[in-house]
Structures are given as C-alpha cells and as structure tokens.
C-alpha cells in the first residue's frame, strides 16, 4: 500500500515505513537510545528529502521519548532538577541548531555537515563504547576482578555556580550541565537525532551522574528539546511531515516494547558491544559515501516556485 506524504511530496510504501519504524524501535528498546541516528540515514535512503527527514525525525523522537520516560517516572529514576537545567541549555542549543540548519541549507552544505557530524560522533562514541565493553567482557571472565571505584570528583567539580541535584546525589556547577544541554540541542536540530547517544555518555563520564538516573533524565529533557526542534522546523523550514511521523512512530513504539523484552535476555556488555558494532557500521557506511567517488556528481537543490 503506497501512501502520499503531504509535506515530503513523495509516495512511499506504508508498510516499509512501519517496518523501518519497527526495526529502529526494537533497537532503541534494546539499547535505550532514540534510534534517530539510524532512522534518519534510512529515510534519506528511501527517498525522503533530507530536510523533511530531519524535521520529522524530531517529532518522532518526542513520541518514543515520552513513551520511555513514563516508565522511568514509575521507577522514580528521573532527576527533574538536572533535567530542567539541561533543558535550559538544550533550548538555546536547539534554536542555534535550527538557525545553523537554515544557513547550511542555503549554502547547499547541509548534507555534508550532517554527514560529517554523523561520522565524527558515531565514530568516536562507537569506538569508545566498543573498547569499554570489550574490556568489561574480558574483566567479567577474570573471576578475581574487584571493580575499581570511579572517582566522584571530576575537573568540572571545581567550577562556580554550584547547585544541589538531590536525585543524582550531586553538588556541582550548573555551567557544565547547561553546556552539555546546549551541545546536544545543537546536534539534535542539525542531525535530526535526540542526542541520547551523546547525552548518556556525557552524563556518565563528564557529570558523573549515577547510571540508574541517566537514561530517564536524558529522555525527560530530550522530549522538550525535540518538541522545541519540531516547532522550530515546522515554523521556519516547513519540513515536519505529520503523516510520515505517525507511520514511523506506530512502528517505533511497538518495536520499542519488543526490544525491551529482548534486552532482558542479553547481558549488559553484550548489548553494549552490539550497539557499538552497529554504530560503527553506520559510521563506516556514511564515511565511505564521503570518500568514494559518487555515482552521480550533480544534485538538484531547493525548489523555488515562481
């Protein structure tokens, strides 16, 4: 069954979109990431204009994050105060990001910028995660291993403007928190991703938040940043396709629940190494596209109706 997308102005198979949403949903349920970094390139691949893919993706992230954060609220693993401070930074970042997106679209370099961001962040995070989980697997094989206690005092703890975050059990400066939020906000708008795959490591390794509140808090603030990004894309670029978003999120929310069932049956290190492998594969694919001589050198850019 093909369906015509009113904003993207292309017709695609509805089941294909449901399937894509479902597969990405399974992965996001398994790994606790939004899955935007996978879905956005996949949407490019099936012929959705990049600008529409990025704008719509933000809308879809709202749905999946909201579904996820409800579960975390029940477990009381959301640091609302931390989330709010991150959010303040995130809003500023998202506004800047949408502006950057607009400028890059005019310059014709938006695809390049998005691709470079993907290669850089997916490459770095994929590699770090791969090494870390490989070490973890090796450690778990050695029986006599005593886990090393991570230092609770990082360099960011010396900064001024300290605040108390009770749920996270932290007393740290608000500046790095706002900066992390802003950075993820920019990426969220430019790359069309929720930024969970950057936010989660940043919270653990930079802010030293306890792992159990990281995912819930990250999801909580992503909802608002993604919602804000959606509104910004809808009003400045007119690139949010509600029909596309609905098809993707129907598949996505169902897939996420299946994924969380699969996740229970796998070990944490196995999960992380699988995710790292997947991130690296996507990264390699995008990098190859940039490096290899493309089959078609020309492309048709923006349409201006007379």
């Amino acid at each position: 069954m093909t369906i015509y997308l009113p904003i993207a102005e292309v017709s695609v198979n509805a089941f294909l979109l449901l399937g894509l949403g479902g597969i990405v949903g399974i992965l996001s349920g398994m790994f606790g990431v939004g899955g935007g970094f996978l879905l956005t390139p996949l949407l490019f691949f099936i012929g959705i204009p990049p600008a529409v893919a990025v704008g719509t993706q933000a809308n879809q992230i709202v749905a999946s994050s909201f579904s996820g954060v409800l579960a975390h609220f029940k477990r009381k693993t959301v640091d609302l105060k931390m989330g709010t401070v991150l959010l303040a930074g995130g809003m500023v970042g998202a506004a800047i990001g949408v502006k950057i997106f607009e400028i890059l679209t005019e310059m014709g370099q938006v695809d390049l910028m998005v691709q470079l961001c993907y290669v850089l962040f997916l490459g770095v995070i994929g590699l770090l995660m791969f090494i870390e989980s490989l070490n973890a697997i090796r450690r778990s094989r050695r029986k006599d291993y005593v886990p090393r206690k991570r230092s609770q005092k990082g360099w960011v703890h010396t900064w001024p403007l300290k605040m108390k975050f009770r749920t996270s059990g932290l007393y740290i400066s608000a500046i790095p928190v706002v900066l992390v939020g802003a950075f993820v906000g920019v990426l969220s708008a430019v790359m069309g991703v929720g930024g969970g795959f950057i936010m989660v490591p940043a919270m653990i390794y930079l802010l030293h938040m306890p792992t159990k509140v990281v995912v819930g808090t990250s999801l909580f603030q992503i909802i608002f940043v993604a919602a804000f990004t959606t509104i910004m894309h809808a009003t400045t670029n007119y690139t949010v396709d509600a029909v596309l978003a609905v098809l993707l999120l129907i598949g996505g929310v169902i897939g996420a629940q299946i994924g969380s069932v699969i996740a229970v049956r796998l070990k944490a290190e196995q999960l992380r190494i699988l995710l790292a492998g997947m991130v690296l594969v996507v990264c390699a694919k995008i990098a190859l596209d940039l490096l290899l001589t493309p089959a078609e050198l020309y492309s048709i850019a923006e349409r201006v109706a007379h």
Partner: protein, 253 residues
C-alpha cells in the same frame, strides 16, 4: 495581374493555415492527489477537423507537450576537496518546469522545425533554460544537461518520440504518465499539428493538479498555520507515546 494573384494568395494563406484544426479530449482535466496517490496516467486524444481533403505532399505530425509549474532550481555539483566529496559548484536554472513531457508522432526534429521550436519552446532543451547563466559558471550547459538527465531518471521529464498514435491523419492519442512526486498547480497542455515541420494549428488547455482531502488540509495547515501544525504534530506524538506505554503496561498485567 500577377501582383493581385500574390495578394490573393497572401489573404488565403491564413485561412488555409486554419484548414486543419485540433479537436481535443482528455481522459481527465484534473489530477487529485489523495493519500494513496501513486502517479497518474492521462490519456490525451483528439481528432483533426478539416473542411477540405488533407494535402497529400507532406505528412501530418502531432506534437503534444505537457508542462508543470515552472520553478527556479539550483543544480549543485560535487567535487573532491580535502579528500571528501562536497558540493562545490552551483548553477541556478531559472526556468525549470517541475514536470515536462513531450510526445510526438515522429522524431521531434522531423515533426517540428528549429524556428517553430524556438517560437513555441516545445523541445526539452527549449523548455528548460537559464537566463544569463554564462556569468555564473563556464560549464552551465553541463549543469543543464545534468538537471535534464536527473529529472528524466525520476520520470519528471519525458521525451516520447513516436508515442503519439495517429490514425488516417485524423485520430490521434497518447498517454502521459505523471509521477507520484507531482507539484501542485496548473499543467499547461499544448497540442501542435504540423506539416513539414511548420505548425498548422495549435490548441492549449490546462490540467489542474491539486491535493484533496487530508493531504490538502495537512499541506495548507503546515504552510499557513505552521505553529498550530507543529503543536498538533506534538500532540499526536505525545498521545501515541502515552498510548503505547499504557497499552503495553495493560498487556503485561
């Protein structure tokens, strides 16, 4: 006396030019883009009305051109910079119809003379053009060629020489396939009757392409009330997220 004959001939000529006239039919004069729109085929058919028997020396040709709303597009070219492929050159093509189809009975170069093509802008090369692109880039023609090639690849530009069937120099028909990614607007449809490359008669009509129902509502809301549209998209997303969470919580119980 000879002058008078020449004058008479001149007076008669415009009339003889109208000796053959197009009578046109369309299978549909509007294309409605619905939620399940997957392109559309339009049958263009008609007949040649004439008062006198057709001239026998030159065969009749029919040229049909369908043109979508014109736009200005930017064609970009990738080049290798710092080891990666990035967009480097760009040429603005001032007149680029979103859709263009030309169908003929015989090859266009035979059916339509160069001068007539220039006058009526029928061939793809005349329909898609730049205005003063030479200043922008030395190789503007290669960008134009690329635009035509890309759009032909996606079915937006069609050149169908010999696709018009003509029976006994009277009845003609052809079918034009319009792709799914149609731009809304008026599609100018022109039919030319030619003999020896000269246009004998022409006829112009419009095929109206528009979105209907939900597609139209969504599109106009997104463009006229973007804030409301954005908010509505968010409400749908939040509702779907909540519904999924609630449904699966109920299933687990």
């Amino acid at each position: 006396m000879r002058r008078l004959a020449a004058l008479l001939l001149l007076l008669i000529l415009p009339w003889t030019a109208q000796a053959e006239e197009v009578v046109l039919g369309l299978s549909q004069d509007e294309v409605a883009i619905t939620a399940t729109f997957d392109g559309s085929s339009i049958l263009i058919f008609g007949a040649v009305k004439r008062e006198a028997p057709p001239p026998t020396d030159l065969p009749l040709d029919v040229v049909i051109a369908v043109q979508g709303p014109t736009e200005t597009v930017t064609v970009r070219k990738k080049a290798r910079r710092f080891g990666i492929w990035i967009n480097s050159g760009a040429v603005e093509i001032d007149v680029a119809p979103s859709f263009y189809a030309v169908a003929t009975t015989r090859p266009l170069s035979v059916a339509l003379s160069q001068t007539e093509d220039l006058r009526h802008r029928v061939s793809l090369d005349r329909a898609v053009r730049t205005i003063g692109a030479a200043e922008e880039a030395q190789d503007a023609p290669s960008y134009l060629a690329a635009l035509k090639r890309l759009r032909q690849g996606e079915g937006s530009y069609l050149v169908r020489e010999g696709a018009v069937a003509l029976d006994q120099e009277t009845l003609f028909r052809t079918s034009i396939r319009m792709p799914a990614n149609l731009t809304v607007g008026n599609y100018k449809t022109r039919i030319f009757l030619t003999r020896g490359g000269q246009v004998v008669d022409s006829y112009e009509t419009v095929i109206y392409v528009h979105k209907v129902g939900l597609e139209r509502w969504t599109f106009s809301l997104a463009h006229e009330q973007p804030l409301v549209y954005g908010a509505l998209s968010l409400i749908i997303a939040i509702a779907a997220g909540w519904a999924a969470s609630a449904a699966f919580a109920a299933l687990r119980r």
